[in-house]
Structure formats: C-alpha cells, structure tokens
C-alpha cells in the first residue's frame, strides 16, 4: 500500500449466482482525494461501494478501507466511514435536530460534540429555523444536503456518496458540490458515484465502470486526452457504448 492510500481494492469481485455484478476491479484512492466512480445504471457501482462499506460480502478479491480489511474488520471500517445511500434514508418522522443527535450518538460522540456540531451544521445549511421540523417536511434538495451533513457528522476519514445529487436541481447540485469540496479541504476522502458528467469534472480522478469492470481510471484531463474527447460526456459515451447490460 502506498503511503496516503485510504482505499485499496485488488481483484474485488461480487457474484450473485451466475451474474457477476462486480468483476475483478482494482484501484487505489488517496487521502483527501475526490474520487469519482462513474458508470451506467447496472454497471455495478453501488455493489462495489456496498462491499467497501461493509454492507455486502465480496465473493473474491482483496480490499482495505482506512487500513482495515473488508472481510475481517468490516465493523472497524464502519467507524472510519460515512455513507449516504442512493435512497434518502434519514428518519422522516424525526426532526432535523433529532436525526443529527441520533447519528452522532450511535457513532459514540459526546453530548458536547453533538451540540456544537449540530449548531455548526444548522448555521452552515441555514436551517436554524427548520431545526425542529420533521425531516419529511423539507424539500428534496435540502434533504440531500442534510443527508450529506449527517453522513459526515462524526467526521469520518472517508465518505461514500451513492448518487447524492439524483433528482436535485442544478443550483442545489452546485451547492452540494461546494459542500463536498469543503469536506475534502478538511482532509476527508470523498468516494462518489454519479451519472452527471459535468460532476465528473469536479473530481480529482474518475473511474468508469462498464459491465462490472473498470474500463478507465485517471484524471479527467488525462482521460479526455486519451479518448480524444472534448468533454467527459464524450469519454463516457465512447466507453459505455460497448456495454451489454442495459437499464
């Protein structure tokens, strides 16, 4: 493992019966990096991410996250990561404040920490007035920003974001990405999957998954040069055209 590497996968594979969802993927993510994990629907992004988060047992291959082995030390990994799933999964019947308190609490944070951090986030998101509203009453864009804040509430080393901006308007998407940048500036490694190719441009490095395999992995500039494309959109289309798995 190179120094400063926080995620390392080698031949990581997940098979469901005959179907190979993730097919021997290998990559490294460095500390503080924003790593874009691109791919069409069904390419295996979410499955790969779930293996790294300790939610899904790999079929074969090796991987470490934050220096812990995904097979044996999955609970230790969970202490070092934050996770925001594709599906909004904060408690809608709890208030904004209660959600933060709950997640802070189960990560073992002290009352003082929770109080301070809650105040900071509420101010930052300009949600002070809504602090005691049930989460279900918030608009989607706010919910997504809140979900991200909760995912990094306990100040994890790495945060995994699974299509965090799905269905969100462009203005909110930009705000969301500025939140990601802030987290990265503070040394948090960001592992993010997305469909939006303009978002890929925000990433330090991206990998493109096609049919369970990683077909390309580099900085966006290098990828565009290699595939003789003007935008990441073009790069993606060139690679994804060969995909056999549909939606």
């Amino acid at each position: 493992m190179t120094k400063g590497t926080v995620i390392q996968a080698e031949g990581l594979t997940k098979q469901f019966g005959d179907f190979i969802a993730v097919d021997h993927i290998s990559f490294e993510v460095k500390k503080g990096e924003i790593f874009g994990f691109l791919g069409a629907n069904g390419a295996g992004k979410t499955t790969a991410m779930r293996m790294l988060c300790g939610l899904s047992m790999p079929t074969s291959g090796k991987a470490t996250v934050a220096g812990f082995d995904v097979y044996k030390e999955n609970e230790a990994i969970k202490r070092s990561i934050g996770y925001m799933s594709q599906k909004f999964s904060l408690y809608e019947d709890l208030t904004v404040k209660e959600n933060m308190r709950f997640y802070g609490g189960i990560y073992g944070k002290s009352d003082a920490f929770i109080k301070q951090k809650t105040a900071f986030i509420l101010e930052h998101l300009k949600l002070e007035k809504e602090a005691n509203l049930l989460v279900k009453s918030l608009p989607l864009g706010w919910k997504q920003k809140l979900a991200f804040s909760v995912a990094v509430f306990h100040e994890p080393e790495i945060v995994f974001l699974d299509e965090p901006t799905g269905g969100v308007d462009p203005v909110t998407r930009r705000e969301f990405w500025s939140m990601i940048y802030e987290a990265a500036d503070q040394g948090t490694t960001v592992f993010v999957t997305t469909h939006y190719m303009d978002e890929a441009e925000y990433c330090n490095r991206v990998s493109i998954m096609v049919d369970g395999r990683i077909e390309a992995l580099d900085t966006t500039i290098a990828l565009k040069k290699k595939y003789e494309a003007d935008s990441m959109d073009e790069v993606f289309l060139k690679l994804a055209r060969g995909a056999k798995r549909g939606e």
């Binding site: 300790g54 202490r79 996770y83 999964s89 308190r101």
Partner: protein, 372 residues
C-alpha cells in the same frame, strides 16, 4: 449503554409520533375487551324449539311450561305433526324438535314409563348439543317430580339411584366472562407484541433506514434491544390497561397475585417480541410480515385453548399446542386469575416460555445480518 440510550430515545419518539400505533395500543384493547366477551358467548340461549304435542293433556302442558320457564328455549310455531315440525327446521325457524306421543299422560300414570322423541338440527353442532343436553335435564327433572307426586314409595326403593350433584369450583357461577377475558387479554398482548415489532423493523427495511444503521458500527445486540425494550414496555402497558378494564367492566380481580402474572407476562412478552423479530428478519416487505404473522396468529388463537379446550383435541393437535406460546399464557392466566396459583404452580409454564424467549431471540439475533 450510551448507544442504547440514543436508540431508545429515537424509538419512543417515533412511536409517540405515530397516531396509528397509539390507536392500536390503546383503542384496540378497549374495544376488544369491551365487545368480545359479550359477543363470544359460550352460553346458548334462545334455542328455538318446536314441540309436537299429540297428547294435549295436563301433563304435556306442564312439561311444556317447565321447558319454556327456564329461559333457554323459545317455542316456535305449533306444529301438528312431526313433518310440520321438520319444515320449521328446514326454514331455520327451529333448532330442536320434541315430539310428545298421544298417550303421554296415560302411560305416565299407568305404565310408569314414557318415551318422548327429540330431533336436533346439527348444522350448528354446539347449539344442538347444548340444547339437547338442557332439554334432557329438564325432562329428567320433570320425571322426578312426577314420581315424587304419584309413585307411592315402597319402604325400600327398588332401584338404586345415583344422583350427581356438581359444584363449580373456581368459577362458582360458571361466569364465562371470567374465562374469556383473561384469554382475550393474552391474545391482545400476543398480537400487539409480535405484529408491532415485525412491522416496525420491516418498515425500516422498506424505507432504507436500516441500511444507514447497518453502515454504522452499532452492535447487533444493541440494535435489537433498542427495538425490543420499547415494545416490551408498551406490552406491559396494554396488560395493565387490560386488567383495569377487566376490573371496571367485569369486576374481575385475580385471585392470585398480580406479581405472578406480571412476572410471567414479562418473559412471555420477550418470547412474543422475539417471534416478531424473527418474522422481520425473514420478510422484506410489510405485506410479507403481516401475512406470516397472520398465519401464525390464526394457529395460535385456534390452538390456544381459548375457544376450544385443548384436552378435547385429538392427540396430534395437542402436541401442536405444546409448541404454541399462547396456550401456556392462557393456561397461566386462568390458573392465577381464577384459582389463585402462585409462581410455584406455574413453574413448568415459566420454564417452557423462557425456553421460547431464548430460542426466538437467539434465532433472531443469529439470523439478523448487518452484511448481506
């Protein structure tokens, strides 16, 4: 422990914010305990009886008025023949037919022996059986009265007569409500316990929040305790509410101690909640969980000894009831409420139910996976 505190705080907040859960917990017991014991009646009243009186004598009239005086029988029609009476049965206007022969009085006086004929509509088996039994008792009574009046007793009674006099222990007035109310309370506790836990966890699966929990370093045991404790508390609350209703509405005060009942209920609830957990770990949608728990509840209720006594079931069915936690609690409830049994008397049931609690919860913890 701190993790548990946060989990409990969250669960209680969610429960008290959900009006449907509160309604289920408080309104369901009240309605069930106020309505069911009156409707689910073991006593058979208003049996429709068609009497074909061929004799029209003083004695036959006496017999008829004796039958109707008890309040169990209602005369329907005044059929002139047996066939006419059967017509009444076909039209469901009569459940029983009693045929008094034409020489009823004459034979009774002269020959000291009569035969009357009784026909039962056995479509409603319980009604026919009980009605038949009531009628037989009335006829015997009548028989004895007539003998007392008419027959000159010899110095030594030629027939040895064994008369059975019964006395109903533990429920002297045979008040079936004493019998039903504690049983219904057990069913309530079972349904609330198993259903609520199962649905609660499966709902977290459906919404996706369980994934967010699984990705935290939370311990399995903490998560499960965080789900069990709130519903355990609610279950004990329902039990208390049930006893308050039993006392106010039916005047039922357990002969035995509340401590015995609560001690058993505490463990029983753990077993039932464990079952709910188990159902939830094997279901991925609320419909699945509901159907499975419905299926189990039907078996538990019908083989629980509330509506039909376990002793009269075929042997194979009796073995099944041994696997039914409900049957143990109904047993214990009746023992303690009616007979005043103490902890020492329910040791066996306590042991078995502890076994169930360990089995269901152990199985649930084992089969709950944070990683798929």
């Amino acid at each position: 422990m701190r993790t548990l505190k946060f989990l409990l705080q969250k669960e209680f907040r969610q429960i008290f914010r959900d009006p449907s859960i509160l309604r289920l917990i408080f309104v369901m017991p009240i309605i069930q305990l106020m309505v069911l014991p009156w409707a689910a009646d073991y006593e058979i009243k208003n049996i429709k009886l068609a009497i074909v009186d061929h004799d029209h004598s003083t004695y036959s009239q006496q017999l008829i008025s004796k039958i109707t005086a008890g309040g169990y029988f209602q005369l329907s029609g005044d059929p002139v023949s047996y066939d006419a009476a059967l017509k009444l049965v076909e039209r469901e206007e009569a459940d029983l037919v009693l045929e008094i022969p034409s020489h009823f009085e004459k034979d009774l006086v002269k020959e000291d022996e009569i035969t009357v004929f009784m026909a039962l509509n056995a479509i409603n088996g319980v009604k026919a059986n009980l009605g038949g039994a009531y009628l037989r008792t009335i006829l015997q009574d009548f028989n004895r009265e007539v003998r007392l009046k008419w027959v000159q007793f010899p110095r030594f009674n030629p027939d040895t007569q064994v008369e059975v006099v019964s006395s109903n222990w533990y429920n002297p007035l045979m008040n079936y409500k004493y019998f039903m109310v504690p049983g219904i309370l057990v069913l309530l506790l079972t349904m609330i316990g198993a259903n609520l836990t199962a649905i609660n966890i499966v709902r977290e699966k459906e919404i996706g929040t369980i994934e967010q929990i699984n990705v935290t370093p939370i311990r399995k045991a903490h998560f499960i305790l965080g789900k069990l404790i709130p519903f355990w508390v609610l279950g004990m609350l329902v039990l208390t509410l049930g006893f308050i209703i039993a006392r106010l509405a039916y005047g039922i005060i357990p002969v035995g101690s509340f401590l015995t009942i609560y001690a058993f209920a505490a463990i029983y609830l753990l077993a039932v909640l464990g079952l709910g957990l188990l159902i939830s770990t094997y279901s991925s949608t609320q419909q699945q969980a509901m159907l499975v728990s419905f299926f189990l509840m039907m078996i538990f209720i019908l083989l629980g000894g509330l509506y039909t006594s376990i002793e009269s079931m075929p042997l194979w069915a009796q073995y099944i009831t041994k696997l039914n936690p409900v049957s143990y609690f109904i047993d214990v409830m009746r023992m303690v409420v009616l007979k005043g049994s103490g902890i020492g008397d329910i040791k066996r049931q306590l042991l078995v139910i502890t076994g169930f609690a360990l089995l269901f919860n152990g199985w649930a913890v084992w089969s709950y996976r944070k990683r798929s």
